[in-house]
Amino acid sequence: MEAPPVTMMPVTGGTVNMMEYLLQGSVLDHSLESLIHRLRGLCDNMEPETFLDHEMVFLLKGQQASPFVLRARRSMDRAGAPWHLRYLGQPEMGDKNRHALVRNCVDIATSENLTDFLMEMGFRMDHEFVAKGHLFRKGIMKIMVYKIFRILVPGNTDSTEALSLSYLVELSVVAPGGQDMVSDDMRNFAEQLKPLVHLEKIDPKRLM
């Protein structure tokens, strides 16, 4: 079958570009309980929610210097939950005064054959890990306190090993772009968690 002629014309979406606002920090294992206690007091009243997720990071190498990264995440403790595919863009280099890291984000719920489909598209898995922890909410803010586990045998999520003796703490909001109020609210909330944890804007490039 011959392929139809190809053009460079892009197909335009029409939806609002959502951005993820992010602040990160960490606490040592022995400080976890006090942090959870404070979060339970500050956050919305709900049943304490824990999660156990398996995330795989896929790369698509192309002509461009930097490969396209997609994150596929599945719940290991909630049967029947859809898989979560996430695209995160480069952090917006803008206002140095902005309190949170801002980057373009696209979240898609998918069926279970996501990894097969990504491989068919040409993506290859770069790395994977297991995340286990707690989830809190305050309004539109999401607070996650979790531990990352390295997977010892690729594909086998039963044999894992903790990456460090600490928990990663993430405060994030997904909202339309340009809303500086969001990062102000996040900064104010982060103040309330001091000195248990210091949440800050961490530029991933500085870590490379």
Binding site: P10, Y87, I108, M121, G122
Partner: protein, 218 residues
């Protein structure tokens, strides 16, 4: 979704696409089917840019070069998006997948003038849902699609003979054979992805046809 059969209805001799659609819908209404709104199934084709595979300055001749990916929508599932490869997996995702395809435009290019869609009326007749649509590429009508769903059953082998009988009652000699997707599932349970595969095959067949097919011998 119940077991569904998607087929093409050739245009009646000496008549236009629209007239044939009207003939069919009149037959359905005489049977006693009730009109229930409209439907639309569309399909956009993407070409994996062959230059993305292999190293700089060398076009990869690996089997993956130039694969076609179809991104489809079905008005029956307005919040979903279906992405599939021919003879490959069919991914069911939410409509944000379209936004992702815009981000991926450097790696997947939309094939020129490839958007094809079928639009028409939905008819409910007891447990059958019948959709007769005009398949169009841009402004030109290229054919007629007929989709029949038997709601109560999800196992194809259990209800194919019943579906066939119903199809014969209004399609007559243009009744199709059992769709190939029926044999694909080892557990035999039919799902919306199977319907989208059938539409993809129908659209590909219609794309290849140079002109609107006519019933009878030419």
């Amino acid at each position: 979704m119940g077991v569904t059969c998607v087929s093409q209805m050739p245009v009646a001799e000496g008549k236009s696409v629209q007239q044939t659609v009207e003939l069919l819908t009149r037959k359905l209404e005489m049977l006693g089917a009730e009109k229930q709104g409209t439907f639309c199934v569309d399909c956009e084709t993407y070409h994996t840019a062959a230059a993305t595979l292999g190293s700089q300055g060398r076009l990869s001749l690996a089997g993956q070069a130039g694969k076609l990916m179809y991104v489809m929508h079905n008005s029956e599932y307005p919040l979903s998006c279906f992405a599939l490869f021919e003879n490959g997996p069919c991914l069911i995702a939410d409509t944000n997948f379209d936004v992702l395809m815009v981000k991926l435009k450097g790696f997947f290019q939309s094939a020129k003038a490839s958007k094809i869609e079928t639009r028409g009326t939905r008819y409910q007749y007891c447990d059958f849902l019948v959709k007769v649509g005009t398949v169009a590429m841009g402004p030109s009508a290229r054919g007629i699609s007929v989709e029949v769903e038997y709601g109560p059953c999800v196992v194809a082998s259990d209800c194919w003979s019943l579906l066939l009988e119903f199809l014969q009652s209004f399609l007559g000699s243009h009744t199709p054979a059992a769709p190939a997707v029926f044999g694909n599932r080892h557990d035999g349970v039919y799902g919306p992805a199977d319907t989208m595969v059938q539409y993809m095959e129908l659209f590909n067949k219609i794309r290849k046809q140079q002109q609107v097919p006519v019933a009878g011998i030419r």
